[in-house]
């Protein structure tokens, strides 16, 4: 519920915080209107959704959204889609994924680099920049602060990568909110709901299940589970396999070798998938180089094909119920989120599991952004009685002897959560202690996700076991790990070198922010130059036309020479990159043509008097 702050005219209103859903397939933003109702923010085309597709032309600024989708077919190598699936991941994680843009296999193993040069957070930043501009245009004020949603099952590196994307786009990310929790906020806000709800969120690339307890405005997450590599993209790839096999036998062609053809087919497949959510059968059609492919696809075949994917969501649901300590009967309501929940088989699977008809009143594409706007309102202090208590999806542990994991903070602990451990030395005079933090549920380090290594440095030489260094591991409200160390006897902060296992370093992010600001200036300058050239084109065309006029011959040779000189000077400036010089030369040419314009005017008047056409 929104509360109105009384403005005495002395305080400047705090800057607005927007909520952003940075999705695998589509992204959008929302804000809290003065009545406390979340509203989606439309783009210049009036549509709130911005497809998360970025085309990088050879020159100039990236093209984002629907326009970039068009380029998926015409220029697939320079057009990036589903970048969210690459966030916070390493090369080894995406083996076997077929993408129509190339990955730089030789680049660092910590962060994926596209062959185009950029990293996934930079691609995310390109999408965020468009959402930021749309919001600024719609709200008529600068927007610098945001809440961004992430899949609940995102690990530390994936969360950090999302935060980096925000920073690169010039947004201060005040909070990362889990997508299913955001959806619960959007659903539960208006109705003062109580009870236990389950949020089933199957998006383009990720699956989450969260179980929450709603009590007097407190949204307490009891447990969450999921799979950050399971979504509509996987369904597309299944359908692609079928079509590709057909084409291989019918046409004898391997379409995976041709990215443009692959993308055209992929879009035909996606269109068929969408249509099958309402129609019992569709015809998948695809034409390429004069050949035509056509295949009838019934819902029955489609269901059979995607059943393994739908089944893969049920395991996490059961584990989530067990972790939350609730039975199916105790779930009061089920909410569906994400475009893939439009698929009838997904709906019926959820209905069967939870034995109740799920809620679908809010648009599954928009509900997460709406919830992010509510969270933004909470942070801004505009929403007072609502509070979100979320959990960490994965256990945090440390590597101990023999590559075994000792868990420090268990999954589904309410965040912020912390744990302290005391470390000492094993041999006399030891100067360093190395700590390896991992995330995951397995017993062995090799089966968990490495998070970071901490090197407690410069320990004064002492007999073994004497130094006592207390290390505090704290998972903040964004689900990101913070670590600090204290020397227990002196009580002093102990120095520590942190080496994240995956992701960008702070320096790298800073460099990207600088580069993006420079590019933003470049982009602006380039636009000014282009506009000046358009103006120059107009006056040069006018002069060319005027030279055919009798008035030109009526000028003195001196006047003609002045115009020619100014014209040449403008032509010289034309190909330079300084718009001010071009504009100055346009003005000089304008001045030089005054006598010409006057003469033309007079000739026109005389012509009119004579009744002849000039």
């Amino acid at each position: 519920m929104g509360t109105f702050q009384i403005d005495f005219g002395t305080t400047k209103p705090s800057p607005r915080i927007i909520g952003i859903d940075l999705g695998t397939t589509n992204s959008l933003s929302a804000y809290l209107d003065p009545t406390g109702t979340p509203q989606v923010i439309p783009g210049a085309d009036g549509r709130p959704l911005v497809p998360s597709v970025v085309h990088y032309p050879l020159e100039g600024a990236p093209v984002v959204g629907y326009e970039a989708i068009e380029r998926l077919k015409s220029d697939p190598a320079r057009t990036v889609y589903s970048a969210k699936r690459l966030m916070g991941r390493a090369l080894a994680d995406i083996a076997g994924e077929h993408l129509t843009y190339a990955i730089d296999e030789a680049a660092s193993s910590q962060v994926i680099h596209l062959a185009l040069g950029m990293t996934p957070p930079e691609v995310g930043a390109a999408v965020l920049r468009v959402l930021k501009q749309n919001a600024e245009a719609h709200l008529g004020e600068p927007v610098t602060q945001a809440v961004i949603t992430v899949p609940a099952y995102f690990n530390d590196a994936q969360r950090q990568a999302t935060k980096d994307a925000g920073r690169i786009a010039g947004l201060e990310v005040l909070r990362l909110v889990n997508e299913p929790t955001a959806a619960a906020l959007a659903y539960g806000l208006d109705k003062r709901k109580q009870g236990i709800i389950a949020v089933y969120d199957l998006g383009g690339g990720t699956f989450d299940i969260s179980i929450l307890k709603l009590h007097e405005g407190i949204f307490e997450v009891l447990a969450t589970n999921g799979d950050t590599h399971l979504g509509g993209d996987d369904i597309d790839q299944l359908l692609m396999q079928v079509a590709l096999e057909d084409l291989a036998t019918e046409w004898g062609l391997d379409l995976t070798a041709d990215p443009s053809a692959y993308q055209s087919l992929r879009q035909a497949v996606i269109a068929a998938k969408h249509a099958l959510s309402t129609a019992p059968a569709v015809s998948l059609e695809f034409a390429w180089l004069g050949k035509e492919y056509r295949r009838e696809l019934t819902r029955e075949i489609f269901d059979r094909l995607i059943l393994p994917i739908v089944d893969r969501t049920l395991g996490p649901c059961r584990r989530c119920l067990a972790d939350a300590g609730v039975t199916v009967e105790q779930i009061d309501e089920v909410v569906l989120v994400g475009g893939s929940t439009r698929i009838p088989l997904v709906r019926s699977a959820v209905e069967n599991l939870f034995r109740s008809r799920p809620h679908t009143e809010l648009n599954p594409d928009e509900v997460v952004a709406l919830g992010a706007a509510v969270q933004a309102g909470i942070l801004a202090g505009d929403v007072q009685d609502t509070l979100l208590l979320d959990v960490t999806p994965l256990s945090l542990g440390l590597e101990t002897m023999g590559g075994v994991v000792t868990k420090l903070i268990h999954r589904n602990s309410t965040i912020p959560a912390s744990a302290t451990e005391t470390f000492t030395t094993a041999i006399d005079g030891q100067r360093n202690v190395l700590i390896h933090a991992v995330q995951g549920e397995r017993e062995l380090v090799k089966d968990c996700r490495s998070l970071a290594r901490f090197d407690l440095k410069d320990i004064p030489p002492m007999p073994a076991g004497l130094p006592k260094i207390e290390v505090r591991f704290l998972i903040d409200a964004n689900g990101i790990l913070n670590v600090s160390a204290k020397e227990l006897r002196s009580g002093q902060q102990h120095s520590m070198e942190v080496t994240p296992s995956y992701g960008l370093t702070d320096d790298q992010v800073e460099a990207m922010i600088l580069a993006s600001i420079e590019h933003a200036e470049d982009d602006f300058r380039e636009r000014q130059v282009r506009e000046a050239r358009v103006e120059a084109d107009q006056i040069l065309a006018a002069i060319d036309k005027a030279k055919a006029n009798a008035a030109w011959d009526a000028l003195t040779s001196e006047e003609r020479a002045t115009v020619s000189l100014a014209t040449n000077q403008l032509l010289l400036a034309y190909h330079g990159d300084n718009h001010e010089v071009i504009l100055a030369k346009i003005e000089e040419l304008n001045q030089a043509t005054h006598p010409l314009a006057e003469t033309m005017m007079n000739t026109a008047v005389q012509g009119a008097l004579k009744g002849t056409k000039i």
Binding site: H215, L379, I415, S418, A419, A477
Partner: protein, 173 residues
């Protein structure tokens, strides 16, 4: 060691807690200290909120579970509980454990199942005794009761290990 009792405004070492009351306290304190309430505060205030709310969450997680609550209270009272790997068999269980190990060695699933049931009954009995000790301690706190509780928890830990072994989840002793 963080002060879990203090962060929920509870008297120290209270063992018998009403879970509904505990949740009310947790929600109240969360509204006060959650970092969301300090998004636009100074860095120092944000730091303090992060600290307070993390202790609060840890406190609620620990105190709402009777077993963890008891272990925390014992540590707070300076009574260390047994190491997880403690293999000393309680004297009155010697014969029982010997039979159980035989059954394991012979992979006698029937006998293992029977033993599992018996151990589970023992654990339930311990849990009831634990609640009685909680009440006795809160009515008249004294160290003897806490020491009795510690002995009970060590025994419970041993039996819990037997149960997980019998369920095929644990490591063989």
């Amino acid at each position: 060691m963080s002060d879990y009792y203090g962060s929920l405004d509870l008297p120290p070492l209270r063992l018998d807690l009403d879970l509904a009351d505990l949740e009310r306290r947790f929600h109240l304190k969360s509204r006060q200290w959650h970092p969301d309430r300090f998004a636009r505060a100074s860095a120092a205030e944000q730091e303090a909120a992060l600290d307070a709310s993390s202790v609060l969450n840890d406190a609620y997680r620990t105190l709402r579970d009777p077993l963890r609550r008891a272990e925390y209270a014992l540590r707070l009272a300076g009574l260390n509980i047994g190491e997880p790997g403690n293999k000393d068999v309680p004297a009155d269980l010697l014969e029982e454990v010997f039979d159980f190990n035989m059954a394991l060695e012979e992979a006698d699933t029937d006998e293992i199942g029977v033993a599992r049931e018996r151990f589970a009954d023992m654990r339930n009995e311990i849990d009831e005794q634990m609640l009685m000790l909680f009440a006795r301690h809160d009515a008249a706190p004294d160290r003897a009761t806490l020491e009795e509780l510690r002995a009970l928890l060590n025994r419970r830990r041993y039996i819990a290990n037997l149960i997980s072994t019998a369920s095929g989840e644990g490591i063989r002793h």
